[in-house]
Point group: C2
Chain length 388, copies 2
């Protein structure tokens, strides 16, 4: 029957990450799950409780398509606190996941036949979402060297832009590489976007997961209010809320109505009772996030040390996000190796081939987890490397 479906829908690839995960679900509870981008903690009670109470109190009716006023106000407070200037509720649109924020940003900028430039290796959902809409995702490869880690040559972005290019999708800190743009690099990218008249879709969801004294640099630090930048974000990572499917966009207030319409015609809003928990996350969650980031920094250093000690890996400690993206010398088929590690080392990694051009020889390991468990997982991986 599938052959009767639209080609772009049929061609949407199965996520290489989900393929591993589905295999792992059959493999028993002793597999250490480092394949997906989530931590080991359930949502903290100070966030879950208000949502559960609102649900039981009957806040179960249709609500504002752009998000409840309390949540948009909380987003403005959160941004004002973390990004060093004033923000208004009118700049925020609540979405049904960060993924939906990406989908809506793409719907708003790039359709059939249009091109979207993105930095690769990348989370596979970006290029897949472009493709389903009939667009073309154009990768610009980051480069990796032992000395400098992952680096971007911004000239490659300019070279990739054609008359069909509608948007640059910029993810920093990057999933999976950990590459993090500094302010100068962001300014160069913004300059290109301004000169070429294309949108920037800014995915800065890991901005607080930055292994430096402060958050990562942001387009918010350098932009003018009329720059064409759409920010996509999620509650998933900062507050251990991956299973909630709530995200947001920060856009120019003039675009509120258009994005409300796009929400209306895709999922028609986000449960009000969940939004009550999201308010608590933003208003009361800074300490939780800081603790998670500190734990991830320790985990990163420990995992890098154990895996590097095999002498067979290429890796650079990531500057941001919570993934180690590493290559193993002498192993060609990362998908097959990832399946074998599940079965024989009892560790689940995401194969680099899932992340597109430049990722083929790598594995992604999520280190947002208890350090003792990660130590055990890293030892298992090191053992597997020595045996293969």
């Amino acid at each position: 029957m599938e052959r009767f479906l639209r080609r772009e829908a049929r061609d949407a690839p199965e996520s290489g990450i989900v393929a591993l995960l589905n295999h792992g679900r059959k493999s028993g509870a002793d597999v250490m799950p480092l394949w997906v981008g989530e931590g080991d903690l359930p949502t903290p009670e100070f966030i879950a409780r208000p949502a559960a109470e609102a649900l039981l109190a009957g806040e179960t009716f249709y609500t504002w398509q752009r998000g409840i006023p309390e949540l948009r106000e909380a987003l403005a407070r959160y941004y004002t606190r973390h990004f060093d200037r004033d923000f208004q509720p009118q700049e925020f649109i609540v979405t049904g996941s960060g993924m939906q924020a990406i989908q809506l940003a793409l719907q708003a900028t790039a359709g059939a036949g249009d091109e979207v430039v993105y930095l690769a290796p990348a989370w596979p959902n970006i290029s897949a979402a472009v493709g389903i809409a009939g667009g073309i995702a154009v990768p610009v490869q980051l480069e990796h060297s032992a000395e400098d880690g992952w680096t971007l040559d911004v000239n490659r972005i300019e070279a990739a832009i054609t008359p069909k290019t509608k948007a640059l999708f910029i993810n920093t800190p990057s999933n999976p590489t950990g590459w993090t743009a500094d302010r100068q690099t962001l300014a160069q990218i913004l300059d290109i976007a301004r000169r070429k008249g294309v949108w920037i879709i800014a995915d800065e969801i890991y901005a607080l997961y930055h292994y430096a004294p402060s958050r990562a640099a942001s387009f918010l630090d350098i932009m003018q209010s009329d720059d064409r930048i759409l920010f996509v974000n999620t509650f998933s990572k900062n507050w251990a809320m991956t299973g909630w499917r709530v995200g947001w966009m920060k856009v120019h207030p003039d675009l509120q109505q258009t994005f409300e319409n796009l929400v209306q015609y895709s999922t028609s809003g986000v449960p009000q009772f969940l939004q009550k928990g999201c308010v608590a996350a933003l208003d009361e969650g800074d300490e939780f996030v800081a603790g998670q980031v500190a734990r991830a920094r320790n985990a990163r250093d420990m995992v890098c040390e154990i895996i590097s000690a095999t002498g067979r890996t290429r890796l650079s400690p990531p500057q941001g996000a919570f993934y180690l993206f590493f290559a193993i010398d002498g192993i060609a088929d990362t998908m097959a190796a990832a399946f074998d590690m599940v079965d024989n080392a009892r560790v689940g990694l995401a194969p680099g081939s899932a992340f597109g051009p430049g990722g083929e020889s790598f594995y992604r390991l999520c280190f947002n987890r208890r350090v003792d468990e990660l130590e055990q997982a890293a030892e298992r991986i090191a053992g597997w490397i020595k045996g293969n």
Copy 2:
């Protein structure tokens, strides 16, 4: 800034229903809210409680993109019970709202430049979703007469099909008209779809809201397993769960992976803790639904009687769904009249112009509500009619 957005996104209309609703939100609590398609009851505790408990128990991680196995099994049980034959869990995909089910069905069948034929008047989101994807929504008008109510001439469907037509969107029982296809009409539509090689997207979400001894006729009653039919559905209406944003699709099991991919690249799944409540709705909710339907039948009869008594309306008691779609003689601008009724009669109706061709002179009234409140609302409307 809006002018830099993609045309199809800019052109997506504000929902005429939401426009009224947003006006009404400023108008005070004494406005009787009959504008949107939801009832007056919050989600029953037997559904809300398991979801709240799962949330507090930490079921807050990523989960199966196609839906948790327990929910797909519960869907198969529900269908087996209501549709008189066996169904398998592999036929069901859980989605983030019925609206998302529609969006995914469209993504799978019709892209830029493709045509989708639908029956009008219709819920406005259908044509808007087609338009955002760059497709063309082609209305086939139902006809209304005092003697026969709303009727469909199926020859009009065949005449509307062109080489660009990819799908027929068939909503029965219909929102807003209440028109409900009998089995013979469904067979005629299926015959057209087979001969023309186009998909049917079947929106039968009000199948149990049928004011006859049994549920409405369904394509499930007449189809072969290899017929190209995608069913879209929602938890919203039957179980007072409009605010949950959970729906599902029933598709051929060979299409599971494609729809899992489309979920992955749009919202990446539905909260597991909410799905636990949905299992309870399906397994324990038949009595609740039957009670709601019985109440709606009484409400329908009472509202029709009071409004008809003005002698200035055109209406037919709907066979299914929970809307009265009625016209008032002598009033041209239904949008202006609907705003005026909010302000002066304190009743919120959806203007018929929101429902596209054939709806312009009508109003949609949702009667899924306490009968005494509806009686008061109907009296207010009758009073407004007499004064205008």
